[in-house]
């Protein structure tokens, strides 16, 4: 190494660091821009009426997103009801049986399901629910979203339970506590924060998901609590209104985007609180 190249190398070093810096902050710019635009365009349309009214026909001023809020709520509940117990069950199995053919295939299936595009899950829900029921429904949308939630919950459960120390389980078993109770009353509560985090993140993910709803929940301009009928959902409303040619509908879409992003950010905060509050330190 000849000495006169030292300065060149030092400059290169500094330049590289600068480049890494600039590129890192540049990639954060879109988030700032998106949040800024949504706040600028959306905050002004938020009011009580916005949350309590249903959309008005084209041309009429005002209107709100009450039906989409109800629809999103219904869809998330329908998705979560079967997938939370099923996901936690499968997660317990995978963490208790690390080896074995069933675990191998189940893990592979989780991996594949997690990578499956959401629109394909929409096709599945269409074939499994919409066709037999002969109509679009909240139920079909919820089932599509439920399949999406499953791999996230299973992975979160398995990974957290793997972190629970073996000594805890041994202690419980040594006291004569049956195996199933050891899992349900000792191991599961110890891993609660991780499992809750997984559930909250998956709820945030499916609440913002649109693609599977296009041909399952389908959208509905009216208030509907019936799970056998089409419902609107926040992301679906944003998609339909954003791609419409009416400025008034764009305004509602910005407002709805504001609500949806707020909801996602809130869930993120909640996840952080859950982790801090309940994290079991071993």
């Amino acid at each position: 190494m000849r000495p006169y190249r030292l300065r060149l190398r030092a400059t290169k070093d500094n330049g590289f660091k600068g480049l890494v810096f600039v590129m890192s902050f540049l990639s954060m710019a879109p988030l700032a821009l998106i949040l800024f635009y949504i706040a600028k365009q959306g905050l002004s349309s938020l009011s009580w009426g916005f949350f309590l009214e249903i959309p008005k026909p084209v041309g009429a001023q005002g209107g709100g997103i009450a039906n989409a809020l109800v629809g999103t709520f219904l869809l998330v509940v329908i998705a979560a009801l079967p997938s939370i117990p099923l996901g936690i069950g499968a997660g317990i199995f995978l963490s208790e049986h690390r080896e074995g053919a069933i675990s191998y295939w189940a893990r592979l299936a989780v991996e594949v399901l997690q990578g499956t595009p959401s629109i394909v899950l929409g096709l599945i829900a269409y074939m499994w629910v919409v066709v037999p029921m002969a109509g679009f429904s909240a139920l079909s949308g919820g089932i599509g979203l439920g399949i999406m939630m499953l791999p996230m919950i299973i992975k979160a459960t398995e990974e957290t339970l793997n972190l629970v120390p073996y000594a805890l389980k041994e202690a419980s078993l040594a006291l004569g506590v049956p195996y199933y109770r050891t899992i349900l009353r000792v191991v599961l509560p110890a891993g609660m924060s991780g499992i809750m985090t997984g559930i909250l993140i998956s709820v945030a993910r499916v609440a913002g998901e649109t693609a599977p709803l296009l041909f399952t929940a389908f959208g509905n301009a009216f208030m509907n609590w019936d799970v056998a009928k089409p419902v609107n959902a926040l992301p679906l409303l944003i998609y339909n209104y954003a791609t419409s040619p009416y400025p008034e509908w764009h305004r509602i879409a910005w407002g709805a985007a504001c609500v949806l992003v707020g909801f996602v950010l809130l869930l993120n905060l909640l996840v952080r609180m859950v982790i801090r509050r309940w994290k079991v330190q071993f």
């Binding site: 070093d13 590289f16 660091k17 480049l19 890494v20 810096f21 590129m23 890192s24 540049l26 990639s27 954060m28 879109p30 988030l31 821009l33 998106i34 099923l86 996901g87 069950g89 499968a90 317990i92 199995f93 995978l94 069933i102 189940a106 592979l108 299936a109 991996e111 594949v112 399901l113 990578g115 499956t116 595009p117 959401s118 394909v120 096709l123 599945i124 399949i147 992975k155 006291l175 004569g176 049956p178 195996y179 199933y180 109770r181 993910r205 913002g208 649109t210 693609a211 296009l214 041909f215 389908f218 992301p235 944003i238 954003a242 791609t243 985007a257 949806l260 992003v261 996602v264 993120n268």
Partner: protein, 300 residues
Amino acid sequence: MTTRPYERPSSGWQESAFQKGILLAALAIVVLLGAVFLSLLFHSKPSIWAFGASFVFEKTWDPVSGTFGAIPFLIGTLLTSFLALAICVPFALAISIFVGEYFRTGMLSSLVKNVTELLAGIPSVIYGFWALFVLVPIIRSIQMKLGIFPYGVGILTASIILAVMIIPYAASMGGEVISLVPSDIKEAAYSLGATRQEMITKVILPYSRSGILAGILLALGRALGETMAVTMVIGNSNLLPSSLFGPGNTMASIIANEFTEATATLYLSALIEIGVVLFLVTTVINIIGAYVVKKTSLGG
């Protein structure tokens, strides 16, 4: 814990019910995946029988005359995904090096980590909405200056917004593997007189190459299947894309756009067959990605 002495510790119906329950839950996942694949295949049967292999090579997609070919969407998907990847990789690498090497703890690193996490959490329809109202006008004005027909929407616009969406996936994996590089080999490089930049490019990056590659593959899998943001800005033209600035369609966006319009059985099954192709492509990419992750013993 209220285990009474007369209870037999590990038998009884609860015990076996619990064991069977979790076994069934694990089996249910395998069955679910099998059922997903078989129903996709079953419902695309009419189209597979009608077109056979020519489905993948036929250039026309014309529901009126009943001719269905997937090549414009295959090309559209590959173009947008790889273009997005090309835009995303330098930025994702920068973030990985930033949080994995330069700032492993402290305010700046948690800021960058949190922001990338939030970017991953924003719903895709919001990205599409934003791109439609902010990115499209910018691209349109650039096209006017360049003298190209100002579509605004198109392959390039879709790729840019896709790149923003997949940066977090590539970056989080990259940051993780870079922070796992053992410090003794880094110190060895320093003691030979390497600068930090030389150490990063000649020690860290080669050492964590496969982990970074896995992150990029996962991001690619994401990009291939991404639907809403792409559907909103790609321009929805069923012809072969003529240029990067021109409109096109991807496999996901054609399904999103036309599925509810498809009334004929053949039309419907052709769209489902596109779903099968999309499912297979993303599955292969994701399995390779998961395999690489496993080989680098990162777990997860």
